[in-house]
Symmetry: C2
Subunit: 437 residues, 2 copies
């Protein structure tokens, strides 16, 4: 205890010095060295290295907290959701806003979903259901994904987000590390932070066409690394990875026995082909999907995960603890959607993204043409900041998501969502053009 | 590290000895003494006592884990859910089972819910909604509870269970303690365990008519105690507490600045009057309610919490991280139910509980007549064990929940649910009578 106290005193002083020199609190290299040392020491003296890692992590977390307290709080986080809320306020005051900030299709779910919903009450499909989801839905999903998947490897969740939450919080805990390729949907980081795990960022750049450097990835893996998160087709960049890169990542995961979370909610919107990670047959992979984007069913909150049964059972425990089961009427609605093709939605989305890309070319903004998903992620010119442009654009009548909502290094980027009819997209892009010039 | 290692070695030896002597691993008194000592020491040397508590807790948890590993795994947990699953299997093989194990009303939701559901698709009420729930629903709930509640103090969740989960996981963390009056719904313990908090049990007995001893409660409160959970009308006993007991509990919570989670999902089924904890105006209270029981809407998964806005905002952060928002169609269904009276349901439930009580009297089983909720919780005679009787009863055709699902000290009890029509209840009770005699 007295030693811990001396350590904390030192932390405060270090924090004050770092503050004067204007450098960040966390030093990943130093932390990694300490981790390696502790891991070695614990092996030598025969203490559980996982337990030693957890102890170390609490010490490091406490260090960071104390140092941050000594520094000024200056970071202000702006996401597509805050833009959405601001846009809603403007709308309430009578202003017309084109919504190109949120990833929510404007077209309706399939007609069969309407039919299924209309039968829910009479069919009394509104009771507690199995924790993992009703058998019919899990079976239909398993069949859709192919013969090698069985219903016990499927868990239906309230949205893809809860599948991510359940996977991360059942497989990771304090002291564990998650590696996330950025730019990325912030949910992965948020879920990791919720369980006290650390997120290590593998940064990708526009210049490298958003391809992750697998050499860097290999260097980042430590004995505390428990999971790598992939999300392709990617939100926000629209990229799909080449097979050789995915091969290398899967092989790294295998070698180090690391979970691979593959969020594939945009797989129905892949324009140049996409291969699910499921095909690798890696036993520590978790595939996430959802009806939200593919079938325009965001508000129904039905997603799912596919993984080995032992992983699914762990996720089911979280679901039982937090939710009992997923709303049964929504599961029957999803059941009606499983067999419905989403290819018309994909064609429509591709046309729309084409319109946005053309407009961006006219504006001479740099971007990588999306292979899929529902977004384009261009770089602003002349060192302009996302928040500045987004405020201007919102004043002009178009809501756009800030690039910095998808990672710390992307404040010169914006994310444009194609979830509007073509004429609205054209109009919105003209307003954006006015905002950036 | 070396000291920690010596501690762990010692733990294993202690575990082996405890195993030989057939005594439990955890010793709450000893743990409490250590906590008091560490708290004093950390104050003396100027270290954050909360941080010291967290460190201590990891050490204690590791101790317990190692000791448990040395002991034989012998506890087998049987809950009303496992009974339900077994009953379902028997039904699949053609056997007729009367379900008196699950707390799920057999009657339908109000007619207005059907109407609301039929409009969802045309009205496009299937989008992402506000994290806390749609404003209309929160406003309607706030109005129902009275003038002093505003919509920002309400958070709509996917079932009362997620409200419990969000409250516990946003307000408690590792090293914190939650006090739970047992017998109780296991969800509170499960949510506390999920965040690494310890649950301290305030045991109540049939002999004391399930009244908690507030003197004992006071003795249990430590500097690590962060929350007390109350659930009245109670699942499984049906008890409602006298005002003077609730007064004393609220006053204890105030004095020690402890959160009070009051799960009031059965408040519509209170036959002799019930006063919500909301009336106390205690700023650290969280009231949980739901449409599941009152309006027979279990499968819709809509519940809510009422608390000060700062607490609601913390819970909303968990909801945003795990769920984005609650399924919008289900929120509109709940909106249609808010104004619907549940008094007919309450009358029906009271009649049914009367039937069960009469039958139990004929069987000369001891029980406290329920003041509310949907259950009776009798004691088996002659030292009979719940699991034995429940297996017999299931063979005869009636499913009943084991008392031990609601706490470790209740294996001589069973929980009988009144969620069946009267003729079925009569028949089920006759089968139970055969099973116990």
């Amino acid at each position: 205890m007295r030693k811990v106290q001396r350590r904390n005193e030192l932390s405060k002083q270090v924090g004050a010095i770092k503050n004067k020199l204007n450098i960040g609190v966390k030093d990943e290299k130093v932390e990694q060295d300490i981790r390696t040392f502790i891991s070695k020491l614990s092996n030598e003296i025969g203490i559980d290295p996982y337990f030693a890692g957890r102890l170390l992590n609490i010490l490091l977390a406490e260090s960071t907290r104390l140092q941050v307290n000594e520094q000024d709080s200056q970071t202000q986080f702006e996401s597509h959701l805050t833009v959405f809320m601001n846009a809603k306020k403007l709308e309430a005051s009578g202003k017309k806003i084109i919504h190109m900030e949120v990833g929510e299709p404007d077209y309706p779910p399939p007609e069969n979903v309407r039919k299924a919903l209309s039968k829910v009450f009479e069919s009394r499909q509104y009771h507690y259901s199995e924790t993992k989801g009703i058998t019919k839905l899990r079976t239909a999903i398993a069949q859709k994904w192919g013969n090698h998947v069985n219903a016990d490897q499927v868990i239906v969740t309230p949205g893809g987000r809860f599948a991510v939450f359940a996977a991360i919080s059942s497989l990771l805990s304090i002291g564990d590390e998650l590696i996330c390729v950025e730019p990325a949907w912030p949910a992965y980081r948020e879920c990791a932070a919720f369980v006290g795990s650390t997120t290590k960022i593998l940064k990708t750049t526009l210049e490298e066409e958003w391809n992750p450097d697998t050499g860097k990835l290999e260097d980042m893996i430590s004995c505390s690394t428990k999971m790598i998160v992939l999300n392709y087709p990617n939100n926000p960049t629209g990229r799909v990875l080449d097979k050789n890169i995915v091969d290398k990542i899967v092989s790294l995961a295998r070698d180090h026995s690391i979970y691979l979370l593959s969020d594939e909610v945009y797989s129905d919107y892949a324009f140049n082909g996409f291969t699910s990670l499921l095909g690798y047959g890696y036993e520590k992979s978790i595939i996430i999907s959802s009806f939200s984007k593919s079938h325009a069913m965001t508000g129904f909150r039905v997603g799912y995960a596919i993984a080995e049964e032992n992983i699914v059972n762990k996720m089911a425990k979280i679901q039982a603890t937090g939710l009992t089961s997923v709303a049964e009427p929504m599961q029957y609605a999803a059941l009606a959607a499983v067999e419905e093709s989403s290819s018309e939605n994909a064609k429509r989305m591709k046309r729309r993204l084409g319109i946005i890309c053309n407009k961006l070319q006219e504006m001479s903004l740099e971007f990588v043409e999306p292979d899929g998903a529902m977004y384009v992620y261009p770089k602003l010119s002349g060192g302009k900041r996302d928040v500045t442009i987004i405020r201007k654009a919102l004043d002009l009548g178009v809501a756009i998501a800030p690039g910095s909502g998808f990672g710390d290094c992307y404040s010169e980027f914006i994310r444009i969502s194609a979830c509007q009819p073509e004429d609205q997209l054209e109009k919105g892009m003209d307003l954006l053009k006015a905002a950036v010039s």
